[in-house]
Symmetry: C2
Subunit: 223 residues, 2 copies
DNA sequence: TGTATTATTTTAACGATGTTAATTATATTT
DNA sequence: AAATATAATTAACATCGTTAAAATAATACA
Protein backbone atom coordinates (compact mmCIF):
# COMPACT_ATOMS: atom_id res chain seq x y z
CA UNK A 1 0.00 0.00 0.00
CA UNK A 2 2.71 2.50 -0.88
CA UNK A 3 0.43 4.38 -3.27
CA UNK A 4 -1.73 5.48 -0.38
CA UNK A 5 1.22 7.19 1.27
CA UNK A 6 2.39 8.82 -1.93
CA UNK A 7 -1.06 10.23 -2.60
CA UNK A 8 -1.47 11.39 0.95
CA UNK A 9 1.86 13.19 0.89
CA UNK A 10 0.88 14.80 -2.37
CA UNK A 11 -2.38 16.03 -0.90
CA UNK A 12 -0.57 17.43 2.12
CA UNK A 13 1.78 19.13 -0.31
CA UNK A 14 -1.06 20.90 -2.08
CA UNK A 15 -2.29 22.43 1.18
CA UNK A 16 1.22 23.19 2.38
CA UNK A 17 2.08 24.94 -0.88
CA UNK A 18 -1.08 27.00 -0.67
CA UNK A 19 -0.38 27.94 2.93
CA UNK A 20 3.20 28.92 2.15
CA UNK A 21 2.16 31.09 -0.78
CA UNK A 22 -0.49 32.83 1.28
CA UNK A 23 1.87 33.28 4.20
CA UNK A 24 4.52 34.89 2.04
CA UNK A 25 2.15 37.05 0.06
CA UNK A 26 -0.53 38.07 2.52
CA UNK A 27 0.86 37.31 5.93
CA UNK A 28 -0.53 35.43 8.87
CA UNK A 29 -3.49 37.71 9.39
CA UNK A 30 -5.21 36.79 6.16
CA UNK A 31 -4.64 33.08 6.37
CA UNK A 32 -7.58 30.82 7.09
CA UNK A 33 -8.75 27.28 6.58
CA UNK A 34 -11.01 28.43 3.81
CA UNK A 35 -8.43 30.58 2.00
CA UNK A 36 -5.85 27.80 2.07
CA UNK A 37 -8.32 25.20 0.84
CA UNK A 38 -9.56 27.46 -1.93
CA UNK A 39 -6.03 28.02 -3.20
CA UNK A 40 -5.33 24.30 -2.96
CA UNK A 41 -8.43 23.58 -5.00
CA UNK A 42 -10.41 21.72 -2.35
CA UNK A 43 -13.18 22.33 0.09
CA UNK A 44 -12.29 23.66 3.52
CA UNK A 45 -13.24 20.50 5.36
CA UNK A 46 -10.92 18.37 3.23
CA UNK A 47 -8.01 19.98 5.01
CA UNK A 48 -8.94 18.15 8.19
CA UNK A 49 -8.47 14.80 6.47
CA UNK A 50 -4.76 15.53 6.15
CA UNK A 51 -3.96 17.76 9.12
CA UNK A 52 -5.06 17.70 12.71
CA UNK A 53 -5.90 21.40 12.64
CA UNK A 54 -4.81 24.69 11.16
CA UNK A 55 -2.04 25.10 13.70
CA UNK A 56 -0.31 21.89 12.70
CA UNK A 57 -0.51 22.88 9.05
CA UNK A 58 0.98 26.33 9.36
CA UNK A 59 3.80 25.23 11.66
CA UNK A 60 4.75 22.57 9.13
CA UNK A 61 5.75 25.52 6.94
CA UNK A 62 8.50 26.52 9.34
CA UNK A 63 11.04 23.95 8.14
CA UNK A 64 10.67 25.08 4.54
CA UNK A 65 10.84 28.76 5.37
CA UNK A 66 13.93 28.19 7.46
CA UNK A 67 15.66 26.57 4.51
CA UNK A 68 14.59 29.39 2.23
CA UNK A 69 15.90 31.89 4.77
CA UNK A 70 19.21 30.08 5.03
CA UNK A 71 19.73 29.80 1.28
CA UNK A 72 18.82 33.44 0.82
CA UNK A 73 21.34 34.48 3.46
CA UNK A 74 24.05 32.26 1.99
CA UNK A 75 23.43 33.58 -1.48
CA UNK A 76 23.60 37.19 -0.36
CA UNK A 77 27.06 36.73 1.19
CA UNK A 78 28.56 34.11 -1.11
CA UNK A 79 30.76 36.60 -2.96
CA UNK A 80 32.17 38.08 0.24
CA UNK A 81 35.39 36.93 1.84
CA UNK A 82 34.96 34.96 5.01
CA UNK A 83 35.49 36.89 8.19
CA UNK A 84 33.83 39.28 10.54
CA UNK A 85 32.48 41.49 7.77
CA UNK A 86 30.71 38.52 6.25
CA UNK A 87 29.38 37.47 9.63
CA UNK A 88 27.79 40.87 10.02
CA UNK A 89 26.40 40.73 6.50
CA UNK A 90 24.81 37.37 7.26
CA UNK A 91 23.05 38.81 10.28
CA UNK A 92 21.76 41.68 8.16
CA UNK A 93 20.57 39.28 5.46
CA UNK A 94 18.77 37.24 8.12
CA UNK A 95 16.95 40.33 9.29
CA UNK A 96 16.18 41.34 5.71
CA UNK A 97 14.48 38.02 5.09
CA UNK A 98 11.90 38.81 7.75
CA UNK A 99 11.51 42.37 6.53
CA UNK A 100 10.72 40.88 3.16
CA UNK A 101 8.24 38.39 4.65
CA UNK A 102 6.68 39.81 7.81
CA UNK A 103 4.23 36.92 7.86
CA UNK A 104 7.11 34.50 8.30
CA UNK A 105 8.43 36.60 11.17
CA UNK A 106 5.08 36.30 12.89
CA UNK A 107 4.98 32.59 12.23
CA UNK A 108 8.49 32.11 13.62
CA UNK A 109 8.36 34.30 16.69
CA UNK A 110 4.87 35.47 17.55
CA UNK A 111 2.09 33.04 16.73
CA UNK A 112 1.51 30.71 19.62
CA UNK A 113 2.26 27.13 18.72
CA UNK A 114 -0.31 24.80 20.20
CA UNK A 115 0.32 21.08 20.33
CA UNK A 116 1.99 20.27 17.06
CA UNK A 117 3.36 16.75 16.89
CA UNK A 118 6.91 18.04 16.43
CA UNK A 119 6.60 21.13 18.58
CA UNK A 120 9.99 20.69 20.21
CA UNK A 121 11.82 20.36 16.91
CA UNK A 122 10.09 23.38 15.47
CA UNK A 123 10.97 25.45 18.53
CA UNK A 124 14.59 24.33 18.36
CA UNK A 125 14.77 25.16 14.67
CA UNK A 126 13.41 28.64 15.28
CA UNK A 127 15.51 29.27 18.37
CA UNK A 128 18.78 28.45 16.62
CA UNK A 129 17.85 29.81 13.21
CA UNK A 130 20.17 32.82 13.36
CA UNK A 131 23.06 30.81 14.77
CA UNK A 132 22.66 28.12 12.14
CA UNK A 133 22.31 30.56 9.29
CA UNK A 134 25.63 32.08 10.33
CA UNK A 135 27.21 28.76 11.23
CA UNK A 136 29.95 28.96 8.60
CA UNK A 137 30.88 32.47 9.64
CA UNK A 138 31.09 31.64 13.31
CA UNK A 139 33.17 28.58 12.63
CA UNK A 140 35.58 30.47 10.41
CA UNK A 141 36.00 33.43 12.76
CA UNK A 142 36.59 31.11 15.67
CA UNK A 143 39.05 28.86 13.89
CA UNK A 144 41.00 31.88 12.64
CA UNK A 145 41.01 33.50 16.05
CA UNK A 146 39.14 36.53 14.76
CA UNK A 147 36.85 36.33 17.77
CA UNK A 148 37.55 35.08 21.29
CA UNK A 149 36.00 31.64 21.61
CA UNK A 150 34.63 32.13 25.09
CA UNK A 151 32.64 35.20 24.14
CA UNK A 152 31.03 33.73 21.07
CA UNK A 153 28.18 32.27 23.09
CA UNK A 154 27.39 35.67 24.53
CA UNK A 155 27.69 37.32 21.16
CA UNK A 156 25.26 34.85 19.62
CA UNK A 157 22.71 35.54 22.35
CA UNK A 158 23.15 39.26 22.06
CA UNK A 159 22.69 39.17 18.31
CA UNK A 160 19.68 36.90 18.56
CA UNK A 161 17.87 39.08 21.07
CA UNK A 162 18.85 42.37 19.48
CA UNK A 163 17.79 41.36 15.98
CA UNK A 164 14.55 40.01 17.37
CA UNK A 165 13.80 43.17 19.32
CA UNK A 166 14.66 45.40 16.38
CA UNK A 167 12.47 43.41 14.01
CA UNK A 168 9.56 43.38 16.43
CA UNK A 169 9.68 47.14 16.93
CA UNK A 170 10.04 47.86 13.24
CA UNK A 171 7.40 45.45 11.97
CA UNK A 172 4.80 45.96 14.71
CA UNK A 173 5.49 49.40 16.14
CA UNK A 174 6.79 51.41 13.18
CA UNK A 175 10.07 52.06 14.97
CA UNK A 176 12.20 53.33 13.41
CA UNK A 177 10.08 55.10 10.84
CA UNK A 178 11.95 54.11 7.68
CA UNK A 179 13.73 51.05 6.40
CA UNK A 180 16.92 53.06 5.99
CA UNK A 181 16.83 53.92 9.68
CA UNK A 182 16.17 50.32 10.52
CA UNK A 183 19.26 49.19 8.62
CA UNK A 184 21.25 51.94 10.27
CA UNK A 185 20.16 50.89 13.74
CA UNK A 186 20.81 47.26 12.93
CA UNK A 187 24.32 48.07 11.78
CA UNK A 188 25.09 50.06 14.88
CA UNK A 189 23.79 47.28 17.09
CA UNK A 190 25.64 44.52 15.26
CA UNK A 191 28.87 46.48 15.27
CA UNK A 192 28.56 47.21 18.96
CA UNK A 193 28.06 43.55 19.74
CA UNK A 194 30.67 42.03 17.46
CA UNK A 195 33.34 44.70 17.79
CA UNK A 196 32.93 45.82 21.37
CA UNK A 197 31.83 42.77 23.31
CA UNK A 198 34.74 41.91 25.52
CA UNK A 199 36.77 44.27 23.46
CA UNK A 200 39.73 44.03 25.79
CA UNK A 201 39.76 40.27 25.53
CA UNK A 202 39.10 40.40 21.82
CA UNK A 203 42.13 42.56 21.27
CA UNK A 204 44.31 40.31 23.35
CA UNK A 205 43.07 37.28 21.49
CA UNK A 206 43.89 38.79 18.16
CA UNK A 207 47.44 39.34 19.29
CA UNK A 208 48.08 35.86 20.65
CA UNK A 209 45.58 34.24 18.31
CA UNK A 210 44.80 30.72 19.37
CA UNK A 211 45.40 27.81 21.66
CA UNK A 212 46.05 29.75 24.81
CA UNK A 213 43.83 30.24 27.77
CA UNK A 214 41.88 33.40 27.43
CA UNK A 215 41.45 35.54 30.44
CA UNK A 216 38.84 38.18 30.40
CA UNK A 217 38.55 40.61 33.20
CA UNK A 218 35.28 42.23 33.87
CA UNK A 219 35.08 45.16 36.17
CA UNK A 220 31.89 46.13 37.85
CA UNK A 221 31.04 48.05 40.98
CA UNK A 222 28.88 47.22 43.92
CA UNK A 223 27.67 50.57 44.97
CA UNK B 1 -24.39 70.13 29.92
CA UNK B 2 -21.38 69.04 32.01
CA UNK B 3 -23.32 66.10 33.41
CA UNK B 4 -23.35 64.49 30.01
CA UNK B 5 -19.58 64.44 29.90
CA UNK B 6 -19.20 63.14 33.43
CA UNK B 7 -21.60 60.32 32.77
CA UNK B 8 -19.95 59.48 29.48
CA UNK B 9 -16.53 59.33 31.07
CA UNK B 10 -17.95 57.10 33.78
CA UNK B 11 -19.37 54.73 31.22
CA UNK B 12 -16.07 54.59 29.39
CA UNK B 13 -14.44 53.86 32.71
CA UNK B 14 -16.63 50.84 33.29
CA UNK B 15 -15.59 49.29 30.01
CA UNK B 16 -11.96 50.28 30.44
CA UNK B 17 -11.85 48.76 33.91
CA UNK B 18 -13.36 45.55 32.62
CA UNK B 19 -10.89 45.42 29.74
CA UNK B 20 -7.93 46.05 32.02
CA UNK B 21 -8.99 43.36 34.45
CA UNK B 22 -9.46 40.84 31.67
CA UNK B 23 -6.19 41.80 30.04
CA UNK B 24 -4.25 41.32 33.25
CA UNK B 25 -5.98 38.14 34.28
CA UNK B 26 -6.65 36.29 31.06
CA UNK B 27 -4.48 37.95 28.45
CA UNK B 28 -5.24 39.32 25.05
CA UNK B 29 -6.34 36.01 23.59
CA UNK B 30 -9.46 35.72 25.72
CA UNK B 31 -10.55 39.31 25.40
CA UNK B 32 -13.60 40.10 23.30
CA UNK B 33 -16.30 42.70 22.92
CA UNK B 34 -18.75 40.38 24.60
CA UNK B 35 -16.51 39.40 27.51
CA UNK B 36 -15.66 43.02 28.25
CA UNK B 37 -19.28 44.11 28.09
CA UNK B 38 -20.42 41.25 30.29
CA UNK B 39 -17.90 42.19 32.96
CA UNK B 40 -18.89 45.83 32.67
CA UNK B 41 -22.53 44.89 33.16
CA UNK B 42 -23.83 45.95 29.75
CA UNK B 43 -24.75 44.44 26.45
CA UNK B 44 -22.02 44.02 23.85
CA UNK B 45 -23.45 46.62 21.49
CA UNK B 46 -23.41 49.29 24.18
CA UNK B 47 -19.64 49.33 23.93
CA UNK B 48 -19.91 50.89 20.49
CA UNK B 49 -21.74 53.88 21.91
CA UNK B 50 -18.59 54.85 23.80
CA UNK B 51 -15.74 53.52 21.68
CA UNK B 52 -15.16 53.49 17.95
CA UNK B 53 -14.19 49.83 18.02
CA UNK B 54 -12.46 47.22 20.15
CA UNK B 55 -9.03 48.36 19.02
CA UNK B 56 -9.51 51.86 20.33
CA UNK B 57 -10.73 50.51 23.64
CA UNK B 58 -7.86 48.14 24.31
CA UNK B 59 -5.18 50.62 23.29
CA UNK B 60 -6.64 53.14 25.71
CA UNK B 61 -5.43 50.73 28.40
CA UNK B 62 -1.81 51.32 27.44
CA UNK B 63 -1.43 54.60 29.32
CA UNK B 64 -2.70 53.05 32.53
CA UNK B 65 -0.57 49.95 32.23
CA UNK B 66 2.49 52.05 31.55
CA UNK B 67 1.94 53.95 34.77
CA UNK B 68 1.39 50.75 36.68
CA UNK B 69 4.59 49.36 35.18
CA UNK B 70 6.53 52.46 36.13
CA UNK B 71 5.28 52.55 39.70
CA UNK B 72 5.98 48.85 40.12
CA UNK B 73 9.53 49.33 38.87
CA UNK B 74 10.09 52.35 41.09
CA UNK B 75 8.77 50.52 44.12
CA UNK B 76 10.97 47.50 43.52
CA UNK B 77 14.14 49.61 43.49
CA UNK B 78 13.20 52.37 45.91
CA UNK B 79 15.31 50.91 48.74
CA UNK B 80 18.41 50.58 46.59
CA UNK B 81 21.08 53.24 46.37
CA UNK B 82 21.20 55.10 43.12
CA UNK B 83 23.79 53.91 40.68
CA UNK B 84 24.53 51.28 38.10
CA UNK B 85 23.28 48.42 40.25
CA UNK B 86 19.94 50.13 40.61
CA UNK B 87 19.81 50.84 36.90
CA UNK B 88 20.21 47.14 36.23
CA UNK B 89 17.59 46.31 38.83
CA UNK B 90 15.16 48.68 37.14
CA UNK B 91 15.63 46.93 33.84
CA UNK B 92 15.01 43.57 35.51
CA UNK B 93 11.90 44.91 37.22
CA UNK B 94 10.65 46.20 33.88
CA UNK B 95 11.04 42.76 32.35
CA UNK B 96 9.41 41.16 35.38
CA UNK B 97 6.34 43.29 34.91
CA UNK B 98 5.72 41.72 31.52
CA UNK B 99 6.50 38.25 32.81
CA UNK B 100 3.81 38.88 35.39
CA UNK B 101 1.34 40.15 32.78
CA UNK B 102 2.04 38.50 29.41
CA UNK B 103 -1.17 40.00 28.06
CA UNK B 104 0.22 43.48 28.62
CA UNK B 105 3.39 42.51 26.78
CA UNK B 106 1.29 41.46 23.80
CA UNK B 107 -0.70 44.66 23.99
CA UNK B 108 2.45 46.78 24.12
CA UNK B 109 4.57 45.09 21.51
CA UNK B 110 2.68 42.59 19.42
CA UNK B 111 -0.96 43.45 18.77
CA UNK B 112 -1.26 45.55 15.65
CA UNK B 113 -2.60 48.98 16.43
CA UNK B 114 -5.08 50.06 13.81
CA UNK B 115 -6.20 53.67 13.59
CA UNK B 116 -6.58 54.78 17.16
CA UNK B 117 -7.12 58.51 17.53
CA UNK B 118 -3.91 58.88 19.53
CA UNK B 119 -1.88 56.22 17.74
CA UNK B 120 1.28 58.29 17.62
CA UNK B 121 1.22 59.07 21.33
CA UNK B 122 0.61 55.46 22.23
CA UNK B 123 3.48 54.31 20.03
CA UNK B 124 5.80 56.90 21.56
CA UNK B 125 4.79 55.87 25.06
CA UNK B 126 5.51 52.23 24.29
CA UNK B 127 8.73 52.92 22.43
CA UNK B 128 10.25 54.89 25.29
CA UNK B 129 8.73 52.93 28.13
CA UNK B 130 11.95 51.28 29.25
CA UNK B 131 13.96 54.50 28.96
CA UNK B 132 11.36 56.46 30.90
CA UNK B 133 10.98 53.84 33.59
CA UNK B 134 14.74 54.06 34.17
CA UNK B 135 14.90 57.79 33.68
CA UNK B 136 16.06 58.57 37.20
CA UNK B 137 18.80 55.96 37.01
CA UNK B 138 20.11 57.18 33.68
CA UNK B 139 20.13 60.73 34.87
CA UNK B 140 21.98 59.89 38.07
CA UNK B 141 24.57 57.68 36.41
CA UNK B 142 25.24 60.29 33.79
CA UNK B 143 25.45 63.21 36.19
CA UNK B 144 27.80 61.26 38.44
CA UNK B 145 29.97 60.14 35.54
CA UNK B 146 29.27 56.49 36.26
CA UNK B 147 28.65 55.95 32.58
CA UNK B 148 30.16 57.70 29.60
CA UNK B 149 27.60 60.14 28.30
CA UNK B 150 28.30 59.46 24.67
CA UNK B 151 27.53 55.76 24.95
CA UNK B 152 24.28 56.05 26.87
CA UNK B 153 22.19 56.30 23.73
CA UNK B 154 23.64 53.08 22.43
CA UNK B 155 23.19 51.38 25.77
CA UNK B 156 19.54 52.35 25.89
CA UNK B 157 18.93 50.92 22.44
CA UNK B 158 20.80 47.75 23.26
CA UNK B 159 18.85 47.26 26.45
CA UNK B 160 15.54 47.97 24.75
CA UNK B 161 16.10 45.48 21.96
CA UNK B 162 17.67 42.83 24.13
CA UNK B 163 14.95 42.91 26.76
CA UNK B 164 12.33 42.80 24.03
CA UNK B 165 13.94 39.85 22.27
CA UNK B 166 14.41 37.95 25.51
CA UNK B 167 10.80 38.52 26.55
CA UNK B 168 9.46 37.49 23.16
CA UNK B 169 11.43 34.26 23.15
CA UNK B 170 10.53 33.40 26.71
CA UNK B 171 6.84 34.25 26.53
CA UNK B 172 6.13 32.92 23.05
CA UNK B 173 8.78 30.31 22.36
CA UNK B 174 9.47 28.78 25.78
CA UNK B 175 13.11 29.84 25.57
CA UNK B 176 14.74 29.49 27.99
CA UNK B 177 12.78 26.71 29.63
CA UNK B 178 12.53 28.11 33.15
CA UNK B 179 12.06 31.50 34.74
CA UNK B 180 15.32 31.07 36.62
CA UNK B 181 17.14 30.63 33.33
CA UNK B 182 15.37 33.66 31.93
CA UNK B 183 16.55 35.81 34.82
CA UNK B 184 20.03 34.42 34.43
CA UNK B 185 20.12 35.23 30.72
CA UNK B 186 18.70 38.65 31.35
CA UNK B 187 21.37 39.38 33.94
CA UNK B 188 24.14 38.26 31.64
CA UNK B 189 22.78 40.38 28.82
CA UNK B 190 22.27 43.48 30.97
CA UNK B 191 25.72 43.16 32.49
CA UNK B 192 27.32 42.75 29.11
CA UNK B 193 25.63 45.86 27.81
CA UNK B 194 26.10 48.13 30.80
CA UNK B 195 29.55 46.95 31.87
CA UNK B 196 31.18 46.16 28.56
CA UNK B 197 29.76 48.60 26.08
CA UNK B 198 32.66 50.86 25.30
CA UNK B 199 34.46 49.12 28.11
CA UNK B 200 37.57 51.19 27.67
CA UNK B 201 35.79 54.40 28.45
CA UNK B 202 33.57 52.80 31.04
CA UNK B 203 36.48 51.26 32.89
CA UNK B 204 38.34 54.52 33.09
CA UNK B 205 35.27 56.22 34.47
CA UNK B 206 34.67 53.56 37.08
CA UNK B 207 38.20 53.64 38.42
CA UNK B 208 38.12 57.34 39.06
CA UNK B 209 34.68 57.72 40.54
CA UNK B 210 33.61 54.66 42.42
CA UNK B 211 34.36 53.66 45.96
CA UNK B 212 34.68 49.93 45.78
CA UNK B 213 35.49 48.04 42.64
CA UNK B 214 34.54 44.43 42.23
CA UNK B 215 36.78 42.50 39.95
CA UNK B 216 35.55 39.24 38.60
CA UNK B 217 37.85 37.07 36.57
CA UNK B 218 36.47 34.60 34.15
CA UNK B 219 38.77 32.07 32.61
CA UNK B 220 37.95 30.07 29.51
CA UNK B 221 39.91 28.35 26.78
CA UNK B 222 39.40 28.51 23.08
CA UNK B 223 40.13 25.14 21.59
C1' DT C 1 -49.78 64.81 35.34
C1' DG C 2 -49.83 62.77 30.69
C1' DT C 3 -47.98 62.75 26.27
C1' DA C 4 -44.30 63.66 22.73
C1' DT C 5 -39.50 63.63 21.95
C1' DT C 6 -35.01 62.33 22.67
C1' DA C 7 -31.36 59.52 24.46
C1' DT C 8 -29.79 55.03 25.79
C1' DT C 9 -29.64 50.09 25.83
C1' DT C 10 -30.66 45.68 23.96
C1' DT C 11 -31.86 42.22 20.62
C1' DA C 12 -31.39 40.57 15.73
C1' DA C 13 -28.69 39.94 12.15
C1' DC C 14 -24.53 39.70 8.86
C1' DG C 15 -20.31 37.95 7.34
C1' DA C 16 -16.04 35.46 8.95
C1' DT C 17 -13.70 32.30 11.70
C1' DG C 18 -12.21 27.04 13.17
C1' DT C 19 -14.06 22.70 13.60
C1' DT C 20 -17.17 18.47 13.42
C1' DA C 21 -21.08 15.53 11.66
C1' DA C 22 -23.87 14.12 8.05
C1' DT C 23 -24.17 13.52 3.16
C1' DT C 24 -22.76 12.91 -1.43
C1' DA C 25 -19.50 11.46 -4.92
C1' DT C 26 -15.68 8.53 -6.25
C1' DA C 27 -12.90 4.49 -6.29
C1' DT C 28 -12.11 -0.35 -5.14
C1' DT C 29 -13.46 -5.05 -4.56
C1' DT C 30 -16.21 -9.03 -5.13
C1' DA D 1 -22.86 -4.80 -12.16
C1' DA D 2 -23.58 -4.51 -7.26
C1' DA D 3 -21.63 -3.93 -2.71
C1' DT D 4 -18.35 -1.85 -0.05
C1' DA D 5 -14.77 1.28 1.36
C1' DT D 6 -12.62 5.84 0.64
C1' DA D 7 -12.58 10.57 -0.27
C1' DA D 8 -14.68 15.06 -0.68
C1' DT D 9 -18.38 18.24 -0.01
C1' DT D 10 -22.14 20.54 2.16
C1' DA D 11 -24.59 21.71 6.51
C1' DA D 12 -24.22 23.05 10.85
C1' DC D 13 -22.45 25.03 15.37
C1' DA D 14 -20.26 28.19 18.32
C1' DT D 15 -17.52 32.07 18.34
C1' DC D 16 -15.89 36.65 16.71
C1' DG D 17 -16.43 42.09 15.49
C1' DT D 18 -19.69 45.13 13.90
C1' DT D 19 -24.11 47.49 12.38
C1' DA D 20 -29.22 48.28 12.05
C1' DA D 21 -33.53 47.89 13.97
C1' DA D 22 -36.32 47.45 18.03
C1' DA D 23 -37.28 48.27 22.82
C1' DT D 24 -36.64 50.70 26.95
C1' DA D 25 -35.64 54.70 29.82
C1' DA D 26 -35.18 59.59 30.54
C1' DT D 27 -36.47 64.23 29.53
C1' DA D 28 -39.33 68.18 27.85
C1' DC D 29 -43.42 70.27 27.09
C1' DA D 30 -48.50 71.05 27.37
Amino acid sequence: MKNKEIQEQRMRGYFLDAARELLKAEGLRSISVRSIAERAGYSYATLYSYFKDLNELIFLCVQDFYEECKSQVLQSVQRKEKGIRRLKASVRAYADFFIQYPGIFELFFIEKIGNATNKKQVLALIRHSLDNVCEEDWHYCMSQGLLPADSIGLMKSQLRHTVLGLLLLYLHRDVPASYADFVSQLNIAVNAIVDDTFSGAATATKQTTVNNALISVRIGNNK
